[in-house]
Protein backbone atom coordinates (compact mmCIF):
# COMPACT_ATOMS: atom_id res chain seq x y z
CA UNK A 1 0.00 0.00 0.00
CA UNK A 2 1.43 3.35 -0.96
CA UNK A 3 0.87 6.42 1.11
CA UNK A 4 -0.79 9.23 -0.87
CA UNK A 5 1.38 11.85 0.83
CA UNK A 6 4.56 9.98 -0.06
CA UNK A 7 3.22 9.58 -3.59
CA UNK A 8 3.14 13.38 -3.85
CA UNK A 9 6.88 13.51 -3.12
CA UNK A 10 7.60 10.78 -5.68
CA UNK A 11 5.40 12.60 -8.16
CA UNK A 12 7.35 15.84 -7.66
CA UNK A 13 10.58 13.94 -8.44
CA UNK A 14 8.94 12.51 -11.56
CA UNK A 15 7.69 15.84 -12.82
CA UNK A 16 10.68 18.07 -12.15
CA UNK A 17 13.99 17.23 -13.76
CA UNK A 18 16.79 17.52 -11.20
CA UNK A 19 14.77 16.82 -8.05
CA UNK A 20 16.58 13.94 -6.35
CA UNK A 21 15.24 13.58 -2.83
CA UNK A 22 12.66 15.19 -0.56
CA UNK A 23 11.56 15.13 3.06
CA UNK A 24 8.22 16.29 4.45
CA UNK A 25 8.61 17.31 8.10
CA UNK A 26 6.67 19.02 10.84
CA UNK A 27 7.70 22.57 11.72
CA UNK A 28 9.34 21.24 14.88
CA UNK A 29 11.56 18.94 12.83
CA UNK A 30 9.94 15.49 12.88
CA UNK A 31 9.77 13.44 9.70
CA UNK A 32 6.28 13.01 8.30
CA UNK A 33 7.35 11.10 5.21
CA UNK A 34 10.37 11.04 2.93
CA UNK A 35 11.48 10.08 -0.57
CA UNK A 36 15.22 9.65 -0.08
CA UNK A 37 18.10 7.35 -0.92
CA UNK A 38 21.21 9.08 0.40
CA UNK A 39 19.80 11.88 2.56
CA UNK A 40 19.28 11.06 6.24
CA UNK A 41 15.64 12.06 6.56
CA UNK A 42 15.65 12.71 10.32
CA UNK A 43 18.67 15.02 10.14
CA UNK A 44 17.32 16.83 7.10
CA UNK A 45 13.96 17.35 8.86
CA UNK A 46 15.65 18.80 11.93
CA UNK A 47 17.99 21.13 10.03
CA UNK A 48 15.27 22.22 7.58
CA UNK A 49 12.92 23.08 10.46
CA UNK A 50 15.61 25.12 12.18
CA UNK A 51 16.44 26.88 8.88
CA UNK A 52 12.83 27.71 8.18
CA UNK A 53 12.33 29.13 11.66
CA UNK A 54 15.44 31.28 11.28
CA UNK A 55 14.13 32.32 7.88
CA UNK A 56 10.87 33.46 9.47
CA UNK A 57 12.86 35.68 11.80
CA UNK A 58 14.85 36.99 8.84
CA UNK A 59 11.59 37.88 7.14
CA UNK A 60 10.49 39.66 10.35
CA UNK A 61 13.73 41.61 10.59
CA UNK A 62 13.48 42.63 6.97
CA UNK A 63 9.76 43.38 7.25
CA UNK A 64 9.35 41.48 4.00
CA UNK A 65 6.10 39.68 4.67
CA UNK A 66 5.54 35.97 4.95
CA UNK A 67 8.43 33.65 4.20
CA UNK A 68 7.77 31.44 1.19
CA UNK A 69 10.92 29.40 0.82
CA UNK A 70 14.60 29.25 1.63
CA UNK A 71 17.03 27.97 -0.93
CA UNK A 72 20.67 26.98 -0.51
CA UNK A 73 22.54 27.19 -3.81
CA UNK A 74 25.59 24.95 -3.62
CA UNK A 75 28.39 24.13 -6.03
CA UNK A 76 26.77 20.96 -7.34
CA UNK A 77 23.14 21.30 -6.33
CA UNK A 78 20.42 22.97 -4.31
CA UNK A 79 18.50 22.39 -1.09
CA UNK A 80 15.16 24.18 -1.09
CA UNK A 81 12.94 24.41 1.98
CA UNK A 82 9.33 25.43 1.44
CA UNK A 83 6.72 26.03 4.14
CA UNK A 84 3.68 23.75 3.91
CA UNK A 85 1.16 25.78 5.90
CA UNK A 86 2.16 26.68 9.45
CA UNK A 87 2.77 23.20 10.71
CA UNK A 88 4.92 21.51 8.12
CA UNK A 89 7.68 22.02 5.58
CA UNK A 90 9.06 20.35 2.49
CA UNK A 91 12.83 20.06 1.98
CA UNK A 92 13.87 19.25 -1.59
CA UNK A 93 17.38 18.18 -2.64
CA UNK A 94 18.11 18.85 -6.32
CA UNK A 95 21.16 18.63 -8.58
CA UNK A 96 22.73 21.59 -10.37
CA UNK A 97 20.65 20.89 -13.47
CA UNK A 98 17.35 21.51 -11.65
CA UNK A 99 14.62 22.61 -14.05
CA UNK A 100 13.79 25.82 -12.20
CA UNK A 101 10.84 26.64 -14.44
CA UNK A 102 9.24 23.25 -13.82
CA UNK A 103 9.97 23.52 -10.09
CA UNK A 104 8.28 26.93 -9.91
CA UNK A 105 5.34 25.50 -11.84
CA UNK A 106 4.88 22.36 -9.73
CA UNK A 107 5.69 23.43 -6.19
CA UNK A 108 2.52 25.49 -5.46
CA UNK A 109 0.27 22.59 -6.48
CA UNK A 110 2.36 20.11 -4.50
CA UNK A 111 2.26 22.31 -1.40
CA UNK A 112 -1.50 22.78 -1.75
CA UNK A 113 -2.05 19.03 -2.09
CA UNK A 114 0.23 18.30 0.87
CA UNK A 115 -1.67 20.84 2.98
CA UNK A 116 -4.94 19.24 2.02
CA UNK A 117 -3.72 15.87 3.28
CA UNK A 118 -2.09 17.24 6.41
CA UNK A 119 -5.10 19.37 7.35
CA UNK A 120 -7.18 16.23 7.18
CA UNK A 121 -4.74 14.52 9.54
CA UNK A 122 -5.11 17.26 12.11
CA UNK A 123 -8.87 17.29 11.95
CA UNK A 124 -9.34 13.58 12.57
Amino acid sequence: MSDPVNDLLVSLRDKVMGVNESVLATSDGLVVTSDVSKTHAESMAAVAAATLSLGNRLADQGSTGTLREISAQCSTGHVIVTAVGNRALLAVVADDGLDQAAFRREIPATVTELRRHLDKDVAS
Binding site: S2, S75, A101
Partner: protein, 281 residues
Protein backbone atom coordinates in the same frame (compact mmCIF):
# COMPACT_ATOMS: atom_id res chain seq x y z
CA UNK B 1 10.73 38.80 -38.62
CA UNK B 2 10.84 35.46 -36.94
CA UNK B 3 7.55 33.66 -37.07
CA UNK B 4 6.67 32.59 -33.55
CA UNK B 5 3.14 31.51 -34.29
CA UNK B 6 4.08 27.96 -35.17
CA UNK B 7 1.85 25.05 -34.41
CA UNK B 8 3.03 23.10 -31.37
CA UNK B 9 3.26 19.91 -33.43
CA UNK B 10 5.81 21.35 -35.84
CA UNK B 11 7.71 23.39 -33.24
CA UNK B 12 10.78 21.18 -32.97
CA UNK B 13 11.13 20.94 -36.72
CA UNK B 14 11.32 24.68 -36.90
CA UNK B 15 14.20 25.17 -34.49
CA UNK B 16 16.69 24.17 -37.22
CA UNK B 17 14.87 26.57 -39.55
CA UNK B 18 15.18 29.33 -36.96
CA UNK B 19 18.89 28.57 -36.53
CA UNK B 20 19.40 28.55 -40.29
CA UNK B 21 17.79 31.96 -40.54
CA UNK B 22 19.87 33.41 -37.71
CA UNK B 23 22.91 31.93 -39.38
CA UNK B 24 22.23 33.47 -42.77
CA UNK B 25 21.99 36.85 -41.05
CA UNK B 26 25.12 36.14 -38.97
CA UNK B 27 23.32 37.17 -35.80
CA UNK B 28 24.54 36.97 -32.21
CA UNK B 29 21.47 36.03 -30.21
CA UNK B 30 20.15 34.00 -27.32
CA UNK B 31 17.21 31.71 -28.05
CA UNK B 32 15.18 30.62 -25.05
CA UNK B 33 13.13 27.48 -25.53
CA UNK B 34 10.17 26.88 -23.24
CA UNK B 35 9.02 23.36 -22.55
CA UNK B 36 9.70 20.41 -20.30
CA UNK B 37 12.58 20.77 -20.16
CA UNK B 38 13.34 24.11 -21.71
CA UNK B 39 16.75 25.29 -22.79
CA UNK B 40 18.90 28.17 -23.94
CA UNK B 41 20.80 28.41 -27.23
CA UNK B 42 23.64 30.89 -27.58
CA UNK B 43 24.62 32.12 -31.05
CA UNK B 44 27.64 34.20 -32.04
CA UNK B 45 27.82 35.55 -35.62
CA UNK B 46 25.19 33.05 -36.67
CA UNK B 47 26.96 29.99 -35.26
CA UNK B 48 25.88 28.04 -32.17
CA UNK B 49 28.53 28.24 -29.44
CA UNK B 50 26.66 26.91 -26.41
CA UNK B 51 23.41 25.29 -25.36
CA UNK B 52 22.10 24.76 -21.88
CA UNK B 53 19.21 22.66 -20.58
CA UNK B 54 18.26 20.97 -17.32
CA UNK B 55 18.31 17.69 -19.30
CA UNK B 56 22.12 17.60 -19.71
CA UNK B 57 25.12 18.82 -17.67
CA UNK B 58 26.54 22.18 -18.77
CA UNK B 59 30.22 23.15 -18.92
CA UNK B 60 30.26 24.28 -15.29
CA UNK B 61 28.76 20.97 -14.13
CA UNK B 62 31.26 19.00 -16.17
CA UNK B 63 34.20 21.00 -14.82
CA UNK B 64 33.16 20.94 -11.16
CA UNK B 65 31.48 17.58 -10.73
CA UNK B 66 34.25 15.67 -12.49
CA UNK B 67 36.78 17.27 -10.16
CA UNK B 68 38.72 18.97 -12.99
CA UNK B 69 38.41 22.28 -11.17
CA UNK B 70 38.08 22.78 -7.44
CA UNK B 71 35.33 24.84 -5.89
CA UNK B 72 37.86 27.40 -4.56
CA UNK B 73 39.46 27.90 -7.96
CA UNK B 74 36.05 28.27 -9.59
CA UNK B 75 34.91 30.88 -7.08
CA UNK B 76 38.16 32.79 -7.53
CA UNK B 77 37.73 32.94 -11.31
CA UNK B 78 34.07 33.94 -11.03
CA UNK B 79 35.02 36.69 -8.61
CA UNK B 80 37.68 38.00 -10.98
CA UNK B 81 35.22 38.15 -13.87
CA UNK B 82 31.85 39.34 -12.70
CA UNK B 83 30.19 39.35 -16.10
CA UNK B 84 31.17 35.75 -16.97
CA UNK B 85 31.92 36.99 -20.45
CA UNK B 86 35.60 36.23 -20.31
CA UNK B 87 35.30 33.20 -18.06
CA UNK B 88 36.78 30.78 -20.60
CA UNK B 89 39.84 32.98 -21.25
CA UNK B 90 40.29 33.47 -17.51
CA UNK B 91 40.16 29.72 -16.79
CA UNK B 92 42.81 29.05 -19.42
CA UNK B 93 44.94 32.08 -18.51
CA UNK B 94 45.10 30.97 -14.87
CA UNK B 95 46.04 27.48 -16.11
CA UNK B 96 43.12 25.89 -14.32
CA UNK B 97 42.22 23.98 -17.45
CA UNK B 98 44.03 23.56 -20.78
CA UNK B 99 42.74 25.46 -23.83
CA UNK B 100 42.28 22.26 -25.79
CA UNK B 101 40.65 20.53 -22.85
CA UNK B 102 38.16 23.40 -22.32
CA UNK B 103 37.35 23.36 -26.03
CA UNK B 104 36.59 19.64 -25.83
CA UNK B 105 34.36 20.12 -22.78
CA UNK B 106 32.62 23.10 -24.37
CA UNK B 107 31.88 21.14 -27.57
CA UNK B 108 30.80 17.99 -25.76
CA UNK B 109 28.38 19.98 -23.55
CA UNK B 110 27.01 21.79 -26.61
CA UNK B 111 26.28 18.63 -28.62
CA UNK B 112 25.01 16.82 -25.53
CA UNK B 113 22.50 19.58 -24.75
CA UNK B 114 21.42 19.61 -28.40
CA UNK B 115 20.83 15.85 -28.24
CA UNK B 116 18.96 16.13 -24.92
CA UNK B 117 16.75 18.94 -26.24
CA UNK B 118 15.98 16.95 -29.39
CA UNK B 119 14.25 14.35 -27.20
CA UNK B 120 11.33 16.68 -26.37
CA UNK B 121 9.33 19.15 -28.36
CA UNK B 122 9.64 22.78 -27.27
CA UNK B 123 6.41 24.63 -26.48
CA UNK B 124 7.80 27.78 -28.02
CA UNK B 125 10.79 30.07 -28.15
CA UNK B 126 11.90 33.62 -27.70
CA UNK B 127 14.85 35.31 -29.40
CA UNK B 128 16.66 37.87 -27.26
CA UNK B 129 19.89 39.82 -27.23
CA UNK B 130 22.98 37.72 -26.51
CA UNK B 131 23.77 37.04 -22.86
CA UNK B 132 27.24 36.09 -21.59
CA UNK B 133 27.95 32.37 -21.46
CA UNK B 134 30.97 30.17 -20.82
CA UNK B 135 32.17 28.69 -24.12
CA UNK B 136 35.36 28.01 -26.03
CA UNK B 137 34.83 26.83 -29.57
CA UNK B 138 34.68 28.45 -33.01
CA UNK B 139 30.92 27.87 -33.35
CA UNK B 140 28.89 25.08 -34.92
CA UNK B 141 26.66 25.31 -37.99
CA UNK B 142 22.99 24.27 -37.61
CA UNK B 143 23.56 21.57 -40.26
CA UNK B 144 26.33 19.92 -38.24
CA UNK B 145 24.15 20.01 -35.10
CA UNK B 146 21.29 18.32 -36.90
CA UNK B 147 23.60 15.71 -38.44
CA UNK B 148 25.14 14.87 -35.07
CA UNK B 149 21.72 14.60 -33.39
CA UNK B 150 20.57 12.15 -36.09
CA UNK B 151 23.76 10.11 -35.73
CA UNK B 152 23.20 9.86 -31.96
CA UNK B 153 19.52 8.99 -32.25
CA UNK B 154 20.34 6.27 -34.80
CA UNK B 155 23.04 4.80 -32.57
CA UNK B 156 20.51 4.33 -29.76
CA UNK B 157 17.62 3.32 -31.98
CA UNK B 158 18.39 -0.42 -31.83
CA UNK B 159 16.86 -0.55 -28.36
CA UNK B 160 13.17 -1.31 -28.06
CA UNK B 161 11.20 1.77 -27.09
CA UNK B 162 12.01 5.34 -28.01
CA UNK B 163 15.26 7.10 -27.23
CA UNK B 164 13.31 9.77 -25.32
CA UNK B 165 11.72 7.09 -23.17
CA UNK B 166 15.12 5.55 -22.43
CA UNK B 167 16.44 8.94 -21.29
CA UNK B 168 13.60 9.14 -18.74
CA UNK B 169 13.72 5.55 -17.50
CA UNK B 170 14.89 4.93 -13.94
CA UNK B 171 17.59 2.29 -14.00
CA UNK B 172 18.31 -0.38 -11.41
CA UNK B 173 20.91 -3.08 -10.95
CA UNK B 174 19.98 -6.55 -12.14
CA UNK B 175 19.67 -9.37 -9.63
CA UNK B 176 22.82 -9.26 -7.44
CA UNK B 177 23.56 -12.97 -8.07
CA UNK B 178 24.40 -12.14 -11.68
CA UNK B 179 26.79 -9.34 -10.84
CA UNK B 180 30.08 -10.35 -9.16
CA UNK B 181 32.23 -12.02 -11.86
CA UNK B 182 31.25 -9.74 -14.70
CA UNK B 183 31.69 -6.43 -12.85
CA UNK B 184 35.35 -6.86 -11.99
CA UNK B 185 36.31 -7.14 -15.65
CA UNK B 186 34.50 -3.92 -16.63
CA UNK B 187 36.35 -0.67 -17.31
CA UNK B 188 36.29 1.77 -14.38
CA UNK B 189 33.99 4.06 -16.37
CA UNK B 190 31.24 1.44 -16.55
CA UNK B 191 31.73 0.50 -12.90
CA UNK B 192 31.13 4.16 -11.98
CA UNK B 193 27.86 4.06 -13.90
CA UNK B 194 26.91 0.88 -12.02
CA UNK B 195 27.59 2.42 -8.61
CA UNK B 196 25.34 5.33 -9.52
CA UNK B 197 22.50 3.09 -10.69
CA UNK B 198 20.14 2.89 -7.73
CA UNK B 199 16.64 2.35 -9.09
CA UNK B 200 15.82 6.06 -8.65
CA UNK B 201 18.12 7.69 -11.15
CA UNK B 202 17.40 8.19 -14.82
CA UNK B 203 20.29 8.28 -17.34
CA UNK B 204 20.09 12.06 -17.02
CA UNK B 205 20.44 11.88 -13.21
CA UNK B 206 23.42 9.53 -13.51
CA UNK B 207 25.07 11.93 -15.98
CA UNK B 208 24.69 14.80 -13.49
CA UNK B 209 25.94 12.66 -10.60
CA UNK B 210 29.08 11.69 -12.56
CA UNK B 211 29.68 14.98 -14.39
CA UNK B 212 29.54 13.19 -17.75
CA UNK B 213 27.43 13.67 -20.86
CA UNK B 214 23.88 12.31 -21.10
CA UNK B 215 24.56 10.58 -24.42
CA UNK B 216 27.80 8.98 -23.17
CA UNK B 217 25.98 7.63 -20.10
CA UNK B 218 23.14 6.31 -22.27
CA UNK B 219 25.66 4.46 -24.47
CA UNK B 220 27.28 2.95 -21.37
CA UNK B 221 23.89 1.97 -19.95
CA UNK B 222 22.99 0.35 -23.25
CA UNK B 223 26.10 -1.79 -22.96
CA UNK B 224 25.31 -2.66 -19.33
CA UNK B 225 21.76 -3.53 -20.39
CA UNK B 226 23.14 -5.85 -23.07
CA UNK B 227 25.38 -7.50 -20.46
CA UNK B 228 22.35 -8.03 -18.24
CA UNK B 229 23.88 -6.00 -15.40
CA UNK B 230 21.20 -3.32 -15.24
CA UNK B 231 17.51 -3.16 -16.08
CA UNK B 232 14.84 -0.54 -16.20
CA UNK B 233 13.22 0.06 -12.85
CA UNK B 234 9.57 -0.86 -12.45
CA UNK B 235 7.51 2.12 -13.56
CA UNK B 236 5.89 4.21 -10.85
CA UNK B 237 2.33 3.09 -10.19
CA UNK B 238 0.04 5.08 -12.46
CA UNK B 239 -2.43 5.49 -9.60
CA UNK B 240 -0.54 8.30 -7.89
CA UNK B 241 -2.65 11.32 -7.03
CA UNK B 242 -2.68 14.24 -9.40
CA UNK B 243 -1.15 17.43 -8.09
CA UNK B 244 -2.75 19.43 -10.85
CA UNK B 245 -5.99 20.04 -9.03
CA UNK B 246 -6.13 22.90 -6.60
CA UNK B 247 -9.65 22.33 -5.33
CA UNK B 248 -9.46 22.19 -1.56
CA UNK B 249 -11.54 19.05 -1.17
CA UNK B 250 -11.58 16.66 -4.07
CA UNK B 251 -14.18 13.97 -3.41
CA UNK B 252 -12.63 10.97 -1.72
CA UNK B 253 -13.69 7.79 -3.51
CA UNK B 254 -16.13 5.86 -1.34
CA UNK B 255 -14.98 2.42 -0.24
CA UNK B 256 -16.40 -0.22 -2.58
CA UNK B 257 -19.75 -1.56 -1.53
CA UNK B 258 -19.80 -5.06 -0.21
CA UNK B 259 -20.50 -6.80 -3.48
CA UNK B 260 -20.03 -10.56 -3.53
CA UNK B 261 -17.11 -11.74 -5.66
CA UNK B 262 -18.04 -13.05 -9.08
CA UNK B 263 -18.44 -16.78 -8.95
CA UNK B 264 -17.74 -19.24 -11.71
CA UNK B 265 -20.57 -21.65 -12.31
CA UNK B 266 -19.87 -25.11 -13.60
CA UNK B 267 -20.26 -25.42 -17.36
CA UNK B 268 -19.97 -21.67 -18.05
CA UNK B 269 -17.00 -19.68 -19.35
CA UNK B 270 -18.01 -16.28 -18.08
CA UNK B 271 -18.51 -15.25 -14.46
CA UNK B 272 -22.08 -15.31 -13.31
CA UNK B 273 -23.67 -11.86 -13.03
CA UNK B 274 -23.67 -10.52 -9.51
CA UNK B 275 -25.94 -7.57 -9.92
CA UNK B 276 -23.25 -5.04 -10.88
CA UNK B 277 -22.76 -4.17 -14.53
CA UNK B 278 -19.88 -6.11 -16.03
CA UNK B 279 -16.89 -4.05 -17.17
CA UNK B 280 -15.67 -6.62 -19.65
CA UNK B 281 -17.11 -6.42 -23.13
Amino acid sequence: MIDESTEPGTGSRNIPALLAELRSRKQSRTVRLTGSPGGTLHLRDGLVVAMETPAAPNVESLLLKSGRITEEAWSAVCAADTTHDRLAEELVAQELVGGGELEIISLSALFDAAFALSLSRPDGWEVTDPVPVLYRNPGITPERLVAEISRRTELLADRPGSVAEFARTRMQLAAPAQLPGAVGALPARLQDVLTNTDGRRTPRDIAFALGRGLFAVMLDLRRLLALGLVQSSAPVAPQRPSTATRTPSAPVPAPPAAVPLPRRLPGRNTPAPTGTPSETP
